[in-house]
Symmetry: C2
């Protein structure tokens, strides 16, 4: 189906490259060797070369990488050269935090609408956008060329909301609800399960403690 299917592991590393290259660019650095990039990012130089080879290289022997070129190329691969309209569903603290995160907008993710089922929230403004009733959601998504729905509602409502979003042909769901969504493969889902992350942290603490007590035995 796709002859240049890139492994999920490589894709997962791209945003980090993009972040570091952005910082280099902002510091006025024009080129960098894979060795220096390797040191900076604490990954092996061969990993970096392999990763970039998935997209045809970018490097030149003896010159290294042109920072701005590489930055822009990775942006294209990540689709950051296109604008994506999004809606936020759930205007609680997390929804508000995401709505107020201006960096997203700088990267082409435009908050077009914010929805909440709580009538007390409706009409309040977040960054100049009035919170609407979720009743308006389907029509809004269809009429405003919305690509992405950001789901920041409790898990009980999330499954049903995902069904609604499937019906109005959403392309992607950024899911913060504490549940796995069951949607067709044609829809991109990226989960941010904060509790899962906190549990991994907790595992790390307990495990380090075990190791440390073994070390001193």
């Amino acid at each position: 189906m796709d002859d240049k299917n890139i492994s999920q592991a490589v894709v997962a590393r791209l945003p980090r490259y993009y972040r570091y290259l952005g910082d280099l660019k902002d510091s006025g650095i024009e080129r960098i060797s894979s060795q220096d990039l390797s040191k900076l990012m604490q990954v092996t130089a061969s990993q970096i070369r392999q990763d970039f080879n998935n997209f045809g290289g970018f490097g030149q022997q003896g010159y290294g990488y042109n920072v701005e070129y590489l930055y822009n190329e990775i942006a294209k691969i990540l689709g950051l050269n296109e604008k994506h309209n999004l809606v936020i569903i759930g205007a609680g603290n997390l929804g508000q935090a995401l709505a107020n995160y201006v960096n997203f907008e700088r990267r082409g993710f435009i908050v077009k609408g914010i929805f909440d089922k709580n009538p007390d929230m409706q009409g309040r403004e977040l960054r100049g956008i009035a919170v609407q009733s979720v009743k308006n959601l389907e029509r809004f998504v269809r009429e405003n060329d919305i690509d992405i729905a950001v789901l920041t509602i409790p898990k009980d409502g999330a499954l049903k909301m995902a069904e609604t979003l499937v019906k109005c042909n959403i392309k992607a769901i950024w899911n913060f609800a504490h549940v796995d969504l069951n949607v067709p493969d044609s829809i991109v889902v990226e989960n941010v399960h904060l509790s899962d992350s906190l549990m991994k942290l907790s595992y790390g603490i307990v495990n380090k403690k075990l190791n440390n007590s073994k070390d001193t035995e």
Copy 2:
């Protein structure tokens, strides 16, 4: 050093098992076969068996898994049977969202203090906890048996804050700042880079579009 070192991939899957088992338990289900768990979670039964074998099994031939037992065992492995005191650094929207997330407390993660460098925020209460000046942070961490620092400040201040946290012997940092922290290996760091996640979503959208247009060629 540690003879039962478990791969990061397995550890990363444990919170998801824990989540599903919690839902089963809440639904009153007492046991489940690896086949049924496999169907529910959409991972292979052999993957489930292999994962659990890292911790000595838990299953019984012909009986399946005892849901509550397995739930409790995974909780222990993840360190959720212990209480962890935490501080939130940065009382902006995201810090507030995390402070208000009661489920963390139910799982033993107790918010003890909230800090912000902005004087306007100081003294405000979040869930009954007054926001303090970051000047108090070091002493507070030392005196209140704090395991975890939740970092929800912009990246510029995050590196310096991480140094401070290292000095006061924090065990773990849950890092939401858009930068990789440089701390000793003895400190557990779990990153939640929201922009990275959004970029993966964007990559997915672009890539699906390419695939779909190829399909219809």
